[in-house]
């Protein structure tokens, strides 16, 4: 007999530059906000999972689980860091979800946190490259923009996806971000500015790339029984899926479709009993503007090759009603890698409560998609409004 899992509370710092903050102070701020939002008494929290990718490399600080728990005043709990590169905190949500679902814990706190700003560009690139297989691809000099540059060139070749369609993703997400107080970028950007920005890994240009970001976000997961007692209203977790995918670009049969995302989505839709046509709002992993196009196809919102044209199409003239990345996405809200997964859940929960600055009308079903490495560790969560 499995327990229905609910998101009892969410919290977040602003995403952006926090040069004078430690990892633990950002994590504690987000966690306290989520705990207050949840109304769940502290003594009900049995586990603390801290999602973090490169805290050790960038700041020298490890052992974030016990440190964050102690700073929150939580004693005698299970507290540990979870690492799955850019999907660290959504992977932690999946683990916490399973514990509540199995009735092993009645309440779990998941916090994602990262500090990335202020480092020299080469040091940041090297840190991010820790999520690439260093023995093979790292040896060839592949970087994350490089991976997505290969994907973008091939997507354009196979489907006729245009430079303007890809740039339109960045323009759309900057426009959303400009209206989200938590977003790192608060100004819209033009198509021309994206296309004229300096190349990073051709055909990817600077404004096709998400920024380096500091920030933290947190989620409190509880059983339905505890949610009923303390929380009103609560969002139900209809599906929580984590799967692995190919870890090397050479392992893909076709690099414009990512098995991890396809498989995670298929399993999540099946668990939730809904399909892509039912999703009202999605926060997906737009680490680069081409990634939003590829992911929206792999999640089933558009057919293969149709992601590009649909970016420029009016919502009413598309074959999917979903609104994608109204938070501004990784491109504009920012990408504090280890915090991004919890940040996406924060955004979708706000949508399903009807409290988002870029509110999608009557949003009932929300989806988050978070990828670690080159889509090597992928989570999909489906959430249902109260």
């Amino acid at each position: 007999m499995s327990v229905s899992v609910h998101v009892a509370g969410v919290g977040s710092t602003s995403f952006g530059s926090h040069p004078n903050r430690t990892l633990q102070s950002l994590a504690v701020e987000a966690a306290r906000a989520a705990l207050a939002d949840s109304n769940i008494p502290m003594d009900r929290i049995g586990c603390v999972f801290v999602g973090n990718f490169v805290g050790g490399i960038m700041t020298g600080q490890e052992l974030l689980g016990p440190i964050v728990a102690a700073d929150l005043g939580l004693a005698n709990v299970a507290a540990v860091k979870v690492e799955a590169a850019c999907a660290s905190s959504s992977a932690a949500v999946r683990i916490g979800h399973d514990l509540v679902r199995a009735d092993a814990e009645e309440a779990v706190l998941v916090v994602g946190v990262e500090r990335l700003t202020g480092a020299p560009r080469e040091a940041l690139t090297t840190a991010m490259t820790a999520a690439i297989d260093l023995g093979s691809e790292g040896h060839a000099g592949l970087t994350f923009p490089g991976f997505w540059g290969l994907v973008m060139a091939r997507h354009m070749h196979l489907y006729g996806t245009t430079r303007e369609q890809v740039a339109a993703v960045a323009v759309k997400n900057r426009r959303f971000g400009a209206n989200n107080p938590l977003a790192q970028f608060q100004k819209p950007i033009s198509l021309e500015e994206v296309i004229a920005s300096p190349p990073v890994a051709d055909p990817i240009r600077r404004f096709d790339c998400c920024p380096a970001t500091d920030g933290a976000a947190a989620v409190v997961l509880t059983s339905e029984a505890l949610a009923r007692r303390f929380v009103s209203p609560s969002v139900r977790v209809a599906a929580s899926v984590l799967v692995n995918g190919p870890v090397r670009v050479t392992d893909y049969r076709e690099i414009t479709s990512h098995d991890g995302t396809v498989n995670a989505a298929r399993r999540a839709y099946q668990a939730a009993g809904v399909g892509p046509q039912d999703i009202d709002v999605a926060e997906l992993h737009d680490c680069f503007s081409i990634a939003e196009i590829v992911d929206s196809e792999d999640l089933g919102f558009f057919a293969a090759g149709e992601g590009g044209p649909n970016i420029l199409r009016e919502a009413t003239k598309r074959n999917s009603k979903v609104v994608i990345n109204p938070s501004g996405g990784l491109l504009s809200k920012g990408h504090p890698t280890g915090a991004t997964g919890c940040g996406q859940i924060y955004e979708v929960v706000m949508q399903l409560r009807g409290q988002h600055p870029n509110q999608v009308p009557q949003a009932r079903w929300g989806l988050t998609h978070n990828g670690g490495g080159t889509a090597a560790a992928v989570t999909v969560h489906i959430l249902q409004s109260p």
Partner: protein
């Protein structure tokens, strides 16, 4: 991935130019990176002798020592 000293022939699946490298390749940038499907079906990443990438679908030939990333050039007419 063993490439040996044998000659490699294949087709360009995709390409990029790495302009912001990690520390290990700082001295090489910018450089062209190719995803190549070899004629035996194996896929690998290779460098390219030239600053402008070949078109997707172009035939390339290359080689390199064991445990080194191979370097490719446009294949001759008879490939």
């Amino acid at each position: 991935m063993m490439t040996g000293n044998k000659s490699l022939r294949g087709t360009v699946q995709s390409h990029t130019i790495i302009r912001v490298p990690g520390k290990s390749h700082a001295a090489d940038a910018p450089f062209v990176l190719l995803l190549v499907e070899l004629d035996d079906g194996e896929r690998l990443l290779g460098h390219f002798r030239g600053s402008t990438p070949p078109a997707i679908g172009a035939r390339v030939a290359g080689g390199g020592a064991d445990n080194e990333t191979p370097t490719f050039s446009i294949a001759g007419e008879k490939s």
